[in-house]
Symmetry: C2
Subunit: 418 residues, 2 copies
Amino acid sequence: MTGSTLAELGRRAKAASRVLASASTADKDAALQACAAALVEATDAILAANAIDVESAQERGMSATVIDRLRLDAGRVESMAGGLRQVAGLADPVGEVLDGWVRPNGLRISRVRVPLGVVAIIYENRPNVTSDAAGLCLKSGNAAFLRGSSGAIQSNIAIAASLRGACESVGLPADSVVLVEETSHAAAVEFMRLRGYIDVLIPRGGPSLIASILEHATVPYVIDGDGNCHLYVDESADLEMAARIATNAKTQRPSVCNAAETLLVHRAVAEEFLAGITGVLPGVELVADPGALALIPGAAGAVAAVEDDWSTEFLDLKMAVRVVDDLDEAIAHITRYGSGHSEAIVTRSLEAAERFTREVDAAAVVVNASTRFVDGEEFGFGAEIGISTQKLHARGPMGLRELTTAKYVVRGDGQTRG
Amino acid sequence: MTGSTLAELGRRAKAASRVLASASTADKDAALQACAAALVEATDAILAANAIDVESAQERGMSATVIDRLRLDAGRVESMAGGLRQVAGLADPVGEVLDGWVRPNGLRISRVRVPLGVVAIIYENRPNVTSDAAGLCLKSGNAAFLRGSSGAIQSNIAIAASLRGACESVGLPADSVVLVEETSHAAAVEFMRLRGYIDVLIPRGGPSLIASILEHATVPYVIDGDGNCHLYVDESADLEMAARIATNAKTQRPSVCNAAETLLVHRAVAEEFLAGITGVLPGVELVADPGALALIPGAAGAVAAVEDDWSTEFLDLKMAVRVVDDLDEAIAHITRYGSGHSEAIVTRSLEAAERFTREVDAAAVVVNASTRFVDGEEFGFGAEIGISTQKLHARGPMGLRELTTAKYVVRGDGQTRG
């Protein structure tokens, strides 16, 4: 696709989206299976392309983490193929009748789930996103318009070529998957402004990408934002359960958005709970308010929290701890510092559980379980394209359903408006 | 609220929204009834304020249409109050459980409808929007953050003062309704960028307002865009029905977005249908393609359409007419020129109806009825805040439901992720 202007690419994706919108589930699933087979078959070519990206990343002195995300091997290619086969097995959201009623004048109105059209994704150095995103778009009847980063461009080109060929082999448009090969910043800004070709843009990247979208985008977008998640241990909590949940929410995978970042403990149980905190959060660096600091054993090496700590998504083995006087103070803290992602309470009080779930304003409120469950797989969606922290369109984990919109179908027998 | 910065106003609306989110239906309905009573009681003050706006509009030489929209009288104030009472009678969307399931690990997940928070509206010289929008926001548990135009500012201040007092009189925050009194363009841009305070912005205005939002807004928004609506008369159409629907769709109220702008006629019935077009569209200025021009009687005074006519929303007694070879050509025309609002077919063919509803990409597709039915009242929503022509969040008429979002509530008994 070298040399094509972005608008030309957009036009092609749009044209493909019209075909995909009417494609049968069987055809889309056949395409997904063909894509999976094509990836496996093209393993050597994909790995050769990936080696160029990895070498270039090493030359530019990228960190080991970045290079690990970028690097593919036969197992990872097989795992991308497995992801596509899994998506083929999910229910097709398109065509679901969401609502239907008859008006007094006899008009029959129904609201039917339809694809969005062209779903654009801007993403970073993870070549697996090329395949994962294309698969979810394909199953939900959308064309995938992909703009990965320059650091993974050779890998992305090789993967997209396989997927495009596979779509064509089963009679769907090659342009069901369109990859932007121009990876400059200016092209990214132009991409965000392709109104008329892009129906939704889903950015998968850090704060600077989000800021750029807020500033420049004219196409509709869904933001997959930060997760500054809290765990509140209520005065009535089962403290053993609270300990298990705190361990899991902070340490099971600290680098992800649904890991907990701040622990709030009710004053009535703070002494007992915090006395054992080194066992609950082994190896976790603690920053604490004065109330918590006085109760945390010296061996934990906790230091005083600074204001910024309460709003920071550490994404690491680090946690802020605060003792609160009551549920009100816990909710007020979350209201002030939370990012609207996932917020959990451990409690035995029905009233506290009800108030927490009602008054905390977040994509997900969790009672007596780990914040780590807030993702598409754990919710049972089979796969996810991201976790929305905005309130419009999609909120929380986004699966196939969130890649659709609705259309009203109105059927009459000659009605006119009086 | 003079002198307050926009951010201060936003903070106040946000604080009020937290109270409203937990308010009972009974309290919200009591507030709506109190608002209605307060408007009627304040009729004299509202009309006095309105007189200042009207006088100023006359001095600035505004058109009669603009002044008519701006001018209030006792009947119009009563009608605003009636609108609020009607909204009080609608079902409360908040708290509806949209979905719920249990995961294999015992986690119980439900998706619950909740208010958006702060709903911002930017609107033009129609003071009734102040009351209408506030009522819909209140019922759906949202704070209304209103930014009307300078031309209606005195009226808006008087109306908002009544509504704020009424909310307070029943124990809800006065800041349930916050009016921005600074009406400069710079303030409008600042308003569109109040991320953190505004959960959704719904513009009610023309193309220049929409363009400004696309360029400047960083808050989420729902666009209520143009309606370039088509009526397609299929070869199998009942031509009498087609005539009735064409008359209604074009002439019943030509100035609104769901009026039809282009008539597409299948070649097989074009001669018969267009022979009687002066009776079908009396007083309508016709612009036509060569095929239609050859068939439209000279008395109709039709002229050749220019390219721009096909994409113009005339909003007037003017219609573009084209003869098409078949359904494919009709759908292709709509795909090229339509604005994704409302598209209608008149047909007796099941296949044509199915293809049209499936392949035409619009908020509403209508079979054998007038496009004029595509609005919130006619759909049975009781009231509408606008008609969305975007695909994200809301598509088509927006009622109370579209002023809400969802929250996941996850209940466990100590689950941790493995």
